[in-house]
Symmetry: C2
Subunit: 140 residues, 2 copies
């Protein structure tokens, strides 16, 4: 691998992520997807919201803007992220950091620690063995 052909996306306190310049062009520094999925009450899998509205999303948006991150970070609504047993779910790209059981009161820590300072909030991360697998022990 020729190091000279790689460039840093992110410096300082934020996670180091090197990409090949010709293939990878993240235009937001971070892109946060907040699940808004709402299933019927009797559905076999749980929902991240009860009615398609998310106070968590609102808090993340407002706090990111207040922290001066409005142009660098996008807080996005998403449909089902398929980690329903661990919801409410949030995933942050390009790092692909998955947060579970996230409450509106967690928004300030995610914004200050992860989005502003580049330190993922470990206490909210979903365990690796639970992600994207039918064998997750929390899945019925």
């Amino acid at each position: 691998m020729k190091i000279s052909s790689w460039r840093p996306l992110d410096r300082g306190l934020r996670p180091l992520l090197w990409v090949r310049g010709d293939l990878c062009l993240p235009k937001f520094e971070r892109h946060v997807f907040v699940c808004h999925n709402a299933r019927p009450a009797d559905a076999p899998r749980p929902s991240c919201t009860s009615d398609g509205r998310s106070e968590l999303h609102t808090q993340l948006q407002q706090l990111a803007k207040a922290a001066g991150l409005g142009a660098r970070v996008r807080i996005n609504k998403s449909g089902c992220l398929d980690q329903c047993e661990h919801g409410p779910m949030v995933v942050v790209y390009p790092e692909a950091v998955w947060y579970g059981n996230v409450r509106p009161e967690d928004a300030a820590e995610i914004v200050a620690e992860h989005l502003a300072a580049g330190r993922p909030v470990e206490r909210l991360r979903v365990a690796d063995e639970c992600l994207n697998t039918n064998s997750c022990p929390h899945r019925g």
Copy 2:
């Protein structure tokens, strides 16, 4: 930088992306977000769908599954990705490749070229200078 502390996420024909193992744990090989936003007909910015339904999304899902990518790639609904003048919009992470003006008939090429073979579809990419900026010449 100590190369020994980095690991490859993706090999072969796919884009090379190296991450620090303790911070970056992408659990889907690729995560595709398809904008489903629908504004009123008289809104100042255009919409990626007319009614919140997306045949493009359906095609990407079906073709990715048919290509054997069901467990490695997630095709996700998203809310507004804020590149409305270039819609219908799609963004693919972790590479952060942005596609614009994407039609259902483009789905097969995105699946075969990008999602399966790791070669972004250049003809569909939105120009860098148009992304995430109010100074995009296409923005009214």
